[in-house]
């Protein structure tokens, strides 16, 4: 954007050069105005408002008093919030690493000149097109101990087989991870596969000449080359982790007990059901701080620093 200068040779020759420039750019500025307003009011305004509310004692209705960090100290003494926070860490770590490992394996295996490549790709990616509600409902049905997987295996003759993770306080969060992996692994595969296809053919020839085993080439040469794709995938998956809400609502509704509560759900419940705006906005602010501290460096490097046009 910084290389375009607008000369406007057809403009009438009145006014100084600067005035003319401002005039020709006016429609562009007007076109950007609605978005600028939205950025100001929604993206900045609403965010600051939420942060401000987290320092108040608001319950059902917003108040503008000042209680300092009282809501935050209540928040960090709240079992439901602490469970939510530890759940999102467990989910995030397993979901991201799981998607990367499964996605990479699928991409590498698909890249072996196999038959029916298109079919395999379609099968691995289709879950990503479906909503989290659909995903959650489907897995809830499959994993319910009464009629689902557990019953199936028992009927096959393994009478003592137990798979009750969905209703087990300690294990329920891992069923959410499984559903999440099913939903997101194909996407990681698609991104990494695009990267694999971009690897120089000569690299494979060179490796063959040197007699390096294929798996070595993948782990020591190809994987480092795929770093940009891995970063893209991680960013996409991370935003998915932070937004984790629908899947939990559809699959376990946070239960059994509070075993699968997550921060996004904590905020939603406190804002819209439990009438505790102060606590809800405090939790939202903690989410905000966490995300910004994780993602700000990446956004800066990727988008802000290389300003302007680059084809």
């Amino acid at each position: 954007m910084d290389t375009i200068s607008i000369r406007a040779p057809s403009m009438p020759s009145g006014g100084t050069k600067t005035q003319r420039r401002v005039k020709t750019r006016l429609p562009a500025a007007v076109a950007l105005l609605p978005t600028a307003l939205i950025v100001l009011v929604v993206y900045i305004g609403c965010m600051l408002w939420t942060v401000r509310l987290s320092f108040t004692s608001s319950t059902l209705l917003p108040k503008l008093d000042w209680v300092g960090l009282a809501q935050y100290s209540r928040l960090f003494a709240n079992d439901r919030f602490l469970t939510s926070a530890s759940n999102i860490v467990i989910f995030g770590a397993l979901f991201i690493s799981g998607c990367l490992v499964i996605g990479f394996l699928l991409a590498v295996f698909i890249d072996q000149n196999i038959r029916g490549e298109g079919l395999f790709r379609t099968v691995f990616l289709y879950p990503y097109s479906m909503s989290f509600v659909v995903t959650g409902v489907a897995w809830q049905w499959f994993l319910n101990p009464g009629l689902g997987l557990q019953k199936l295996v028992r009927d096959m003759g393994f009478e003592s087989f137990t798979f009750d993770w969905l209703v087990n306080q300690r294990m329920a969060i891992y069923t959410i991870v499984v559903a999440g992996l099913w939903h997101g692994a194909g996407l990681t595969m698609a991104i990494l596969l695009a990267g694999l296809r971009g690897v120089d053919k000569d690299l494979w020839k060179a490796a063959k000449v040197d007699g390096i085993p294929t798996w070595r080439v993948y782990t020591s040469v190809v994987l480092p080359l795929l770093r940009p794709m891995v970063v893209t995938a991680v960013v996409l998956l991370t935003t998915g982790v932070v937004k984790l809400y629908d899947l939990v609502v559809a699959m376990t509704l946070g239960g059994p007990g509070i075993a699968t509560e997550v921060p996004a759900k904590f905020v939603m419940d406190h804002l819209f059901e439990r009438n505790n705006i102060g606590l809800g906005t405090a939790a939202a602010t903690i989410m905000l701080i966490t995300v910004v501290s994780i993602l700000a460096p990446w956004v800066y490097i990727r988008y802000v620093r290389p300003q302007g046009r680059h084809a």
Partner: protein, 294 residues
């Protein structure tokens, strides 16, 4: 996705390794197909058969009763008009939201990549950061603003919300696409005396078909699959299909009709699945291009 030529090792004839490759892929494919298979067979079984267990088996007495019931008479809370209500609500939300958010993205992208407007880059930077911030940070104040203006819980409200939160991805998508177009094209149009809008409609828009397709795929699946905005902003009258599905499945009193649940689930998944199967590689291209948002 342009270079689609496989570049792995050259294929050899069936060796242990090749068999292993196929074994892995087929196993993985079975895992990925499993939930869909279960959804379909369950939706086609009568309840007596479902109670016997054997979740994987094909229906012995196949029936489409559950589908009819899910579509027209399943209960979403107190009302029992099926998921068709949610389907039509989703359609009414989808069409204006997709059109408006794409128009907004195209104009923003064009203005950002060809016209130097003061502060535009800063605005774009903030917008992109906004894409990463959890929605929970904006929701409560937005609800207040919409209540004050009197449009809370309406179709206008939910469409507006989709346009607002679609802005980062859509703007990025079009900006990147337009930044790849030759600048000489724009300069020539300027010399010919074209203004902001005439260049947009006569030169830029006719060249935008690929990115318009990508944007449409992205927005149709994204908006159709939305749950949190529909729940928060649409109001009782306009609840989208995802919310209705959750109500059908998770708020049933008494014995759950799993076949109806699964039929409703399949119905809710149908639109994005069709988009996915029809669009094929464009789908991946869309996600990769809009990789700023999940």
């Amino acid at each position: 996705m342009s270079a689609a030529v496989p570049q792995g090792r050259r294929p050899r004839h069936l060796t242990i390794g090749r068999i292993g490759v196929y074994a892995f892929l087929v196993t993985a494919a079975l895992f990925f197909m499993l939930p869909l298979w279960i959804m379909v067979v369950t939706s086609l079984k009568p309840m007596e058969e479902i109670r016997l267990g054997n979740i994987l088996a094909l229906p012995a007495a196949m029936t489409f009763e559950a589908w009819t019931k899910a579509w027209s008479s399943a209960c979403t809370g107190l009302e029992c008009n099926g998921i068709s209500v949610g389907f039509w609500n989703s359609v009414r939300i989808l069409i204006p939201s997709v059109i408006l958010s794409i128009i907004a993205g195209a104009i923003n992208g064009y203005a950002l990549s060809f016209w130097r407007v003061k502060g535009a880059n800063v605005m774009f930077g903030v917008l992109l950061l906004g894409a990463f911030i959890p929605y929970q940070v904006f929701l409560y104040p937005l609800v207040r603003i919409f209540s004050l203006t009197g449009i809370y819980n309406s179709l206008t409200c939910i469409v507006l919300v989709h346009v607002i939160f679609g802005l980062p991805t859509m703007t990025l998508l079009f900006r990147n696409y337009y930044a790849g177009l030759p600048i000489e094209l724009f300069k020539a149009a300027r010399i010919d005396g074209g203004g902001f809008w005439s260049i947009f409609f006569r030169v830029i828009l006719p060249m935008s078909t690929p990115i318009l397709v990508v944007a449409t795929i992205l927005q149709v699946t994204g908006i159709w699959n939305d749950f949190i905005f529909g729940l928060t902003f649409a109001g009782r009258e306009n609840l989208p299909m995802t919310v209705q599905l959750n109500n059908i499945v998770n708020s049933t009193q008494g014995e759950r009709a799993y076949n109806v649940d699964m039929a409703a689930t399949m119905l809710a998944a149908l639109v994005p699945l069709v988009v996915y199967f029809v669009s094929g590689r464009w789908f991946v291209r869309g996600i990769a291009a809009g990789a700023v948002k999940g």
